[in-house]
């Protein structure tokens, strides 16, 4: 009887195995397609992550702290500020508000990714969870190569970046002051990445109103409010100007066509 049932079910098992293998192939192809794009982030995150881990170490924290913080927060600027928070008197409300202020720009990224991350089942929870500056820049700008699963591609870009950041900061926390940096200036890799992403976006638009609004608002606010508090006013002004000039921007073709609009979606 048991043998009979096994025999009847065998084709289904075989089918399941085949589907699992194909799914594995989809994942492996997406990983292989995603990896090259994350190499600059690897350089930048290992450099910044190491620096951050070393900073935590010399501030008297075990490597567990940078490791856990990089895992659950995954945001460099806030994590650096958190070192100061952790050695100051306990002030939960102030901590929470300061964290919200530093991280507020992520709301922009979430809005921009709404359409791209739509319908990506459970993956989108991780995709929003890990939406840092660099991951947003890549996933918004990159065009998913033909034949590669969109969801897995975005997933692996996010996951690889996350792994680079966690491993870099943990290593820094372990090595501590043993690390001697003669890599002065390597932090520029992040600026270079943002410049290239900016240019990539620039060449996809007919008119550049939105880029210029962002540049002007940020520079003016930086000069007015200083490096530590210019982001929020800059974001406010950007939002205001974009809403005020919505009609002329849309009319003049100042928006990019998203990849979905230019190419047919992969099945």
């Amino acid at each position: 009887m048991v043998v009979c049932i096994k025999w009847c079910l065998a084709p289904f098992y075989a089918l399941g195995e085949k589907m699992r293998k194909e799914a594995g192939g989809v994942r492996r192809r997406a990983l292989r397609a995603a990896f090259p794009y994350t190499i600059p982030i690897f350089a930048g995150f290992w450099f910044l992550g190491l620096a951050y881990g070393v900073y935590m170490n010399v501030s008297g924290f075990s490597f567990w702290y940078p490791m856990v913080m990089s895992l659950v927060v995954f945001g460099g600027s806030l994590e650096f500020v958190m070192v100061t928070m952790l050695v100051s008197p306990f002030a939960p409300l102030a901590t929470f508000l300061l964290a919200l202020m530093i991280q507020a720009r992520h709301v922009f990224y979430g809005i921009a990714m709404l359409d791209k991350y739509k319908g990506l089942d459970w993956k989108r929870f991780y995709l929003y969870f890990s939406l840092c500056d660099e991951t947003f820049s890549l996933n918004y700008t990159l065009e998913v190569p033909p034949g590669i699963d969109r969801g897995w591609f975005y997933f692996f870009v996010s996951l690889l970046n996350h792994i680079y950041w966690i491993s870099g900061s943990t290593l820094g926390g372990l090595l501590g002051s043993l690390v001697k940096f003669n890599t002065e200036g390597l932090e520029f890799v992040m600026t270079a990445l943002f410049v290239v992403i900016f240019l990539e976006q620039w060449s996809k638009e007919k008119k550049h109103y939105t880029a210029l609004i962002g540049l002007l608002a940020s520079v003016v606010c930086l000069l007015l409010f200083g490096p530590d508090s210019f982001l929020l006013p800059a974001m406010g002004i950007i939002l205001l100007l974009l809403m005020l000039f919505r009609k002329p921007i849309e009319k003049a073709g100042g928006l990019t066509l998203t990849a979905d609009e230019r190419t047919v979606d992969q099945p």
Binding site: V72, G185, F188, T191, A192, V195, A217, L255
Partner: protein, 108 residues
């Protein structure tokens, strides 16, 4: 600060971060179509955000204090030139970064 307080601080920062990253997703659900003005912002914000990120990553340069802004300007020019020459991502990032490292380590 004791361990419990430290855990609370880390949890609060993680929660605040998640709030900012998930907010648009939570407000505009997958099932209903996204409102028109949010779709517009979704397309208008990236270019503005990338510009903001460039300024953000350069926020600590000291324009009054000597020669350092020259290194940044030169490295950005090299990055742009390589980008428009080859139209790909890795080469300009590597070239710009190397230029910057050489300049700050050897020249300035």
């Amino acid at each position: 600060m004791n361990l419990t307080e430290q855990i609370i601080v880390i949890a609060l920062c993680a929660f605040a971060t998640m709030l900012t990253r998930f907010l648009p997703f939570l407000v505009f659900s997958d099932k209903r179509p996204t409102p028109k003005y949010i779709s517009y912002l979704g397309k208008a914000l990236p270019a503005a955000s990338f510009a903001m990120l460039i300024v953000y990553s350069l926020r600590n340069i000291d324009l009054s204090g000597g020669s350092f802004a020259i290194a940044e300007v030169l490295a950005i020019i090299v990055t742009c030139a390589l980008y428009f020459w080859k139209r790909q991502m890795l080469l300009p990032i590597a070239g710009g970064t190397l230029t910057y490292m050489l300049l700050v380590q050897l020249v300035f």
